[in-house]
């Protein structure tokens, strides 16, 4: 059974159709890349999955449960964690507190105490190598550090599905390779985590995804194994004749 | 008999409503452009009233002529407060702008109190009245109503026929996009804030025609609440919505007063004010984007 299933999702903003009849399936433990040019609807799709917006049409099914109109705060504990394209840290709280919030409210049991959450936070922060910045207010981090912090915050939720919205934009290529390796490792170790990602950065997509979904002007145009998808002429065309690097 | 009284009151309500509407346009303009709620709104109305009072009593100047003067005073205050305070808070949390405008309101009240004292005052402008059968309308109120409509139309023309107006409109629609297209967004913010305050202070002049002896440094509080109800009725960010919201509010206020007066043992005036508070909550609950807006 698939972990996440979107059926014919349409999301409009006024007259603009940001996501147009998109259906897709993601199975447990799968690594999926979602790509597409600017404005193609990737972030909107994430917002529909995490409950920031409700779609006008279609259904969102997670773990066998219809969550199309479920409040976002009830989705997180089901196992949907995410990061934001433009980082949204709780600025005045420390990095440690930020990550602890993920563990405290985002886990399935919902019964993680404050102290336990702080412990989980410490461990997770170490994994993303932010321990030096642990007690800094999250607002004071650099953009890249904020993205790492968001990854840690989402991981602390012990998600089954981790939605990373351009989490590696702005990182140095070497760091991206490291990051990809790290996320893969966690995803495999924890067995539960599925990483789906939205990247302009083909390097990360190629290094990580087993399957690539390509969006263009809100519609899904390709859904295929990575290599096949990236060689698809439609994809090349969408990227205006700039074939993927490497 | 009762129906006649009701009709009379409703006509009075429309006349007052037009002025209410105009008095709210500045609030909506500022919210629409800067996303700032001017909690000190009523204090600027009060400033307009004092401008009128002073021009009339000290210099014998006709209240109609006080409108442009008040508008200029308001623009000036608007620019001052924008550049000293608001500009630094555009990106700050909402709490900051709410409290800043709130404090600016208090500051104005206290300054006016310091200068003019806190007793109730008024002026006596004799221009006659007309009897339209169901009710008697003082000419001054009629002038205020006509003045409001003219100002609303001027604002409409300014928005649609001038460069500065369309720049402001583009900022309302999409400030990032406007910036990319070369619009001076900071300038548009300053101008809109000043214009909004200018309109509000000018409306204070027109409102004095309804409160012959009600001019007082703290008179603004009630208008702030009414302006919020009206703005929310009209969709909060649209000056024209606000104008029509004002008309609706004038009707409701006068209509409900007439009805409450029929209930024995209550104070109808206090109940109308309670009603405006209930309306505010109800509208916000049902449709925060405004009952009269299409969005």
């Amino acid at each position: 059974m698939s972990l996440l299933k979107l059926e014919n999702i349409t999301k409009r903003f006024g007259g603009l159709i940001a996501v147009n009849k998109v259906s897709l399936e993601i199975s447990k433990g799968e690594f999926v890349g979602i790509v597409g040019p600017n404005g193609s609807g990737k972030t909107t799709l994430f917002n529909v999955i995490s409950g920031v917006y409700f779609p006008e049409e279609g259904r969102v099914i997670f773990d066998g449960q219809d969550i199309t109109t479920l409040q976002p705060y009830k989705r997180a504990p089901l196992g949907i964690g995410r990061t934001f394209q433009i980082p949204r840290p709780f600025a005045s709280a420390t990095v440690r507190e930020n990550v602890a919030v993920g563990a405290m409210f985002g886990t399935l049991s919902g019964k993680v105490s404050v102290d336990e959450s702080l412990e989980i936070a410490d461990k997770t922060i170490e994994r993303v190598r932010l321990q030096e910045h642990k007690d800094k207010p999250a607002g004071a981090l650099t953009p890249v550090e904020k993205k790492l912090m968001e990854i840690a915050r989402a991981l602390a939720m012990k998600p089954k599905l981790l939605l990373m919205d351009e989490a590696m934009a702005g990182m140095h290529p070497n760091d991206i390779d490291q990051m990809v390796a790290f996320i893969k490792q966690i995803a495999v170790e924890e067995k539960i985590a599925i990483v789906s990602m939205v990247e302009h950065i083909m390097r990360a997509v190629v290094g990580m995804a087993e399957k690539v979904i390509v969006l263009h002007q809100g519609s899904k145009i390709v859904d295929a194994p990575t290599k096949e998808a990236l060689e698809d002429p439609k994809v090349v065309e969408v990227y205006l004749g700039h074939p993927p690097e490497e | 008999m009762f129906l006649e009284q009701l009709t009379g009151n409703l006509i009075q309500g429309i006349v007052l409503g037009a002025v209410y509407g105009m008095a709210t346009m500045g609030l909506s303009l500022i919210f629409g452009v800067l996303k700032v709620v001017n909690v000190g709104h009523g204090a600027f109305i009060m400033v307009g009233a004092f401008v009128t009072l002073w021009l009339f009593n000290a210099l014998g100047i006709n209240p109609i002529l006080a409108v442009p003067v008040a508008f200029a005073v308001g623009m000036g205050l608007g620019f001052i407060f924008y550049y000293t305070t608001m500009q630094r808070l555009i990106k700050a949390p909402e709490l900051a702008t709410l409290l800043a405008t709130f404090s600016i309101g208090i500051l104005l009240e206290e300054l006016v109190k310091l200068t003019f004292g806190s007793e109730f005052r008024g002026y006596n402008w004799v221009v006659g009245k007309i009897d339209i059968g169901v009710t008697v309308l003082p000419m001054s109120k009629l002038y205020a109503c006509i003045g409001s409509v003219i100002i609303a139309l001027l604002l409409y023309l300014w928005f649609n026929k001038t460069r500065a107006g369309s720049a402001v409109r583009s900022v309302v629609e999409d400030s990032e996009g406007a910036r990319v297209c070369g619009v001076n967004v900071g300038g548009a913010y300053a101008l809109s804030f000043a214009l909004g305050i200018g309109l509000t202070v000018a409306s204070g002049v027109l409102l004095t025609m309804f409160i012959p002896v009600g001019i007082n440094p703290y008179m603004g509080g009630g208008y702030t609440l009414k302006a919020f109800v009206i703005a929310v009725l009209g969709g909060l960010s649209s000056p024209y919505g606000a104008f029509f919201g004002g008309l609706a509010f004038g009707l409701i206020e006068n209509g409900s007063y007439t009805l409450f007066a029929l209930i024995p043992g209550v104070e109808p005036f206090a109940l109308t004010r309670f009603l405006s508070f209930v309306m505010l909550l109800a509208i916000l609950l049902i449709k925060p984007t405004g009952l009269l807006s299409t969005k």
Binding site: F84, V101 | F31, E94, L95, E267, R273, V278
Partner: protein, 333 residues
């Protein structure tokens, strides 16, 4: 267990300040009146901070909760004074009624207003105090605009002497306890999930929701808690100290303004902030009213603007960042 105790260290400076106030008032003659006023401001700030400071939402109608709290105590005394032998029990009933009424009002207001975000919330609350006042006056509830005067009933039930020492001394002691209790609850919230949830939603409500936080639940919790303390402050500082209540006085927006100044001055969302803010505000107001009567607001309005623009973290906020990493940091939050 030791860890549990260190968690509550930040109460030490707060309680020390209150103890100090008490000792000054008790031992230096002629100071009690000033001390009583300072305690009132600290308690009000402490109560308001639980909502304004911890959620970042501005409730312009806050004084309404103090107002209904005052009515709660007033109604208990006026209606139950004839019952023989109730004695001091009547005051306990008054407190319960005050709590009940402020809880109910905050639930009613919260149910509507807390669905709204930021500016819309502020707009919704701006009329609450006036609205409630006009309801009481307009519909002639609880004696309408004439208000309630219950000095005689208080004298009758407690005896003249006890009633007078209640008004001039014990009521202030009760305010002190309310302020201390509010501080304790604030810290308890800060150290529990509620505090984490409130910080998260104050910083970014949408992100907080996506992290699994039921923001409405936590906002309502903070709102009701804050309203309850406001009700207690009203019941004590207003109803018991001055045994009468008039609608325009207890729904006067002026007090909301003072509460905002105190919280901002001290540092919104900090534990020690309301104490510092209350002391600074109260002392300066006291001396300003002696030396420049009638000018307090003229002076305080620009001060709020300056704080917002230049020192948005307030005094304790600044202290906090200064002491970061030192031993003091454990005590100052």
């Amino acid at each position: 267990m030791k860890k549990e105790i260190t968690k509550y260290y930040p109460l030490i400076p707060v309680f020390t300040a209150y103890l100090f106030l008490f000792l000054v008032g008790k031992n230096i003659s002629g100071m009690w009146q000033l001390v009583a006023m300072l305690l009132f401001y600290c308690a009000m700030g402490q109560a308001f901070n639980i909502f304004l400071g911890m959620t970042g939402y501005v409730d312009f109608g806050y004084v309404a909760f103090m107002g209904v709290g005052t009515y709660g105590m007033a109604l208990a005394i006026t209606n139950l004074a004839h019952i023989e032998g109730l004695g001091i029990g009547i005051i306990i009933i008054g407190f319960i009624l005050a709590l009940l009424m402020s809880t109910l009002l905050s639930m009613a207001v919260g149910a509507v207003a807390l669905r709204l975000r930021g500016a819309y919330f502020a707009i919704a609350t701006i009329g609450v105090n006036e609205g409630f006042r006009f309801l009481i006056e307009g519909a002639r509830i609880w004696n309408g605009s004439e208000g309630l005067i219950f000095t005689a009933q208080l004298n009758q039930i407690l005896g003249r002497e006890a009633a007078s020492s209640l008004m001039t001394y014990w009521a202030d002691i009760m305010v002190l306890f309310i302020a201390a209790l509010a501080a304790f609850v604030t810290l308890f919230y800060m150290r529990s999930k509620i505090g984490y949830a409130l910080t998260a939603l104050r910083e970014d409500e949408d992100a907080a929701k996506v992290m699994g936080i039921n923001v409405t639940k936590y906002k309502i919790t903070a709102f009701i808690t804050s309203a309850c303390f406001a009700g207690l402050v009203g019941a004590t500082s207003w109803a018991l100290k001055t045994p009468y209540v008039f609608p325009p006085e207890v729904f006067e927006i002026h007090y909301t303004i003072e509460a905002i100044i105190i919280v901002l001055l001290g540092g919104a969302g900090t534990l020690l902030g309301p104490v510092v803010g209350g002391l600074i505000y109260g002392i300066s107001k006291y001396y300003l009213s002696i030396f420049m009567p009638g000018f307090q607001l003229l002076i305080f309005a620009p001060i709020i603007i300056i704080i917002i623009v230049l020192f948005p973290e307030g005094v304790v906020g600044m202290l906090k960042s200064r002491t970061k990493g030192s031993v003091l940091a454990r005590f100052i939050i």
